[in-house]
């Protein structure tokens, strides 16, 4: 039941702000600061030295490139999924809608093992490609597939509500004014959807470069070839080299943060342009 009340009292605000600050410090801010100071132990030159290693550089390149490729794939697949889910009715639609959240909740190691089983040379799909001379598991292609799997709900779930909110009049008037379906989509709908697509893709990308659980199973972890950055962090930890580990983590964190920041900026600009 909805009733009218007075505006929130200050005391409510005090408690909720207090709890928010407490939780964000305990769970997010303090650990991140710890990470920051831990890696400062070896200084900027130390961090640069860590990244002068060829193996780390090739992992850096691999992580970011497969992350980027999978984010682009997710942009298209995710958008398509969201579009189909909103605009069409078909049997088992609710089930599909629920399944999309699965990568959010499934332990990523389970996803990794399942994907490797299917895509390895002896797997159902992998053996088919093997006959054509294409290896999927234990190559960067396998990593991209794992990343597409864990990343695509981000795009779907960010774009879906925006498509739902699109006013029908927009499309109708565009069509009435003589626009072709493609023109309507490209000139009228896409500018509205663009900010959310960008946001979803950005999140999928940021998630991809940090992904460990699903990737270590399918990548084969060959140094210089299929070794990802998070694996190198684990490697450094295994050698008790906390500072080197945290400095790799720090570089990943900063890059992700920078990327998210840029996306937000672009998104802001896009939505301002609209209004």
């Amino acid at each position: 039941m909805l009733i009218e009340t007075r505006p929130y009292k200050k005391i409510h605000f005090g408690i909720s702000l207090g709890l928010t600050v407490f939780y964000s410090s305990a769970v997010v801010i303090i650990p991140l600061l710890g990470l920051f100071f831990h890696s400062l132990g070896i200084g900027v030159s130390g961090i640069l030295e860590v990244f002068s290693d060829n193996r780390i550089r090739s992992a850096l390149f691999l992580s970011f490139s497969v992350g980027f490729i999978s984010a682009i794939i997710n942009l298209f697949i995710g958008f398509l999924f969201a579009w189909v889910l909103v605009r069409y009715d078909f049997p088992f639609k609710k089930l599909l809608d629920t399944l999309i959240d699965l990568p959010f909740t499934l332990p990523t190691a389970v996803a990794g093992i399942a994907l490797t089983t299917i895509y390895s040379q002896k797997g159902i799909i992998g053996s088919y490609f093997e006959a054509w001379g294409i290896k999927i598991a234990y190559t960067p292609i396998g990593i991209v597939i794992a990343l597409v799997f864990i990343g695509f709900p981000f795009v779907v779930r960010t774009v879906q509500p925006v498509i739902e909110e699109l006013p029908k009049e927009l499309e109708e008037s565009a069509r009435c004014l003589g626009a072709t379906p493609f023109q309507t989509f490209y000139k009228v709908l896409l500018p509205e959807l663009w900010p959310s697509i960008l946001a979803g893709t950005g999140m999928a990308f940021a998630r991809s470069i940090g992904e460990y659980g699903s990737v270590v199973f399918i990548s084969g972890n060959i140094p210089g070839k299929t070794e990802i950055l998070p694996l190198l962090i684990v490697t450094k930890l295994e050698q008790y080299e906390y500072e080197k580990a945290t400095s790799i983590a720090l570089v990943m964190l900063l890059t992700s943060f920078l990327f998210m920041f840029l996306i937000n900026l672009l998104q802001d600009r896009a939505s301002k342009k609209l209004s």
């Binding site: 009733i3 009340t5 193996r55 002896k122 234990y138 972890n221």
Partner: protein, 345 residues
Amino acid sequence: MKKITRISTLKPTISAILCIFLSIGALSSLAAESTFLHVSFDPTRELYEEINKSFLKVWKEKKGSEFAIQQSHGGSGKQARAVIDGLDADVVSLALSYDIDSISAKSGLIDANWQKKLPNNSVPYYSTIVFLVRKSNPKKIKDWDDIVKPGVSIITPNPKTSGGARWNYLAAYGFAKRKYKSDEKATDFVKALFKNTSVLDTGARGSTTTFVQRGIGDVLITWENEAKLSLDEEKRSGKNTLEVVYPSESIKAETPVAVVTKTATEKGNLEKATTYLEFLYTKEGQSIIAKHFFRPTDAATAKASSKEFPNIKLFSLSDLGETWDSAQKKHFADAGVFDAIYKTQ
């Protein structure tokens, strides 16, 4: 716009706060309940489940009291790090003495001379590194020399992330060093070995899965107990696709145990912890160990189970003129031999 709110807004806030207090209370009572904690590495889970049952029976007969033993299993290095970071273990049993040395050096929780405190350098059981191949051995793999031949696909975990994999590596390196009497040739040998390696999993179990379940590779380099466990699993599910091959020589993979003196003393568990580890050396403990495919150190038990454990030539780390510290620095640390192998490829 009018401010509208649900009347029940406040209730969730109160119950949320209550929940927080309750969960903190539950967590702290959980912590208080963890009386005796044994931190170990992955493949010993089943072994210690049985050891614990037998030990607690013996303890009750002797002391008349009961207590519960909690087990924690994971990668050896990860477990060592957890203890360093404050996991309050009373005893540890890990894959390499290097990990226990690290706990001792980095936290001081374990005495520096821990290895002298129990019989046989604190090693109650050991294992060795063998090959698992496909049934009827299609690639005719008999010894280490056969797996570095071109066209053989090897599965082994990554020595950078797996303690067990370091034993695999050192077994191959040691074999070549003893055969060719040269460090350089031994390095070339492991280089050839990793050139043939198609998948480097992060842990030993991962490699077993890749080889056994996915059917990838011609040979899995693995611990003897892990190989026997795979055969056992196959037997149980009525399959017969694998064979164990014993090389002419392999390494003695010594897996040590230690009391975490400082923690155990603080928790009042020192006597329990010491008796527990001593139990591993008793007849009863040793026969349970043999049952779980680890090699017992007690001569009589070893003799009784000699059918299970073929007599192959074993060399130890010290036979190679190495300690864990020197081996770690030379082979596995940054810019060590293992890194160099992949740099040149």
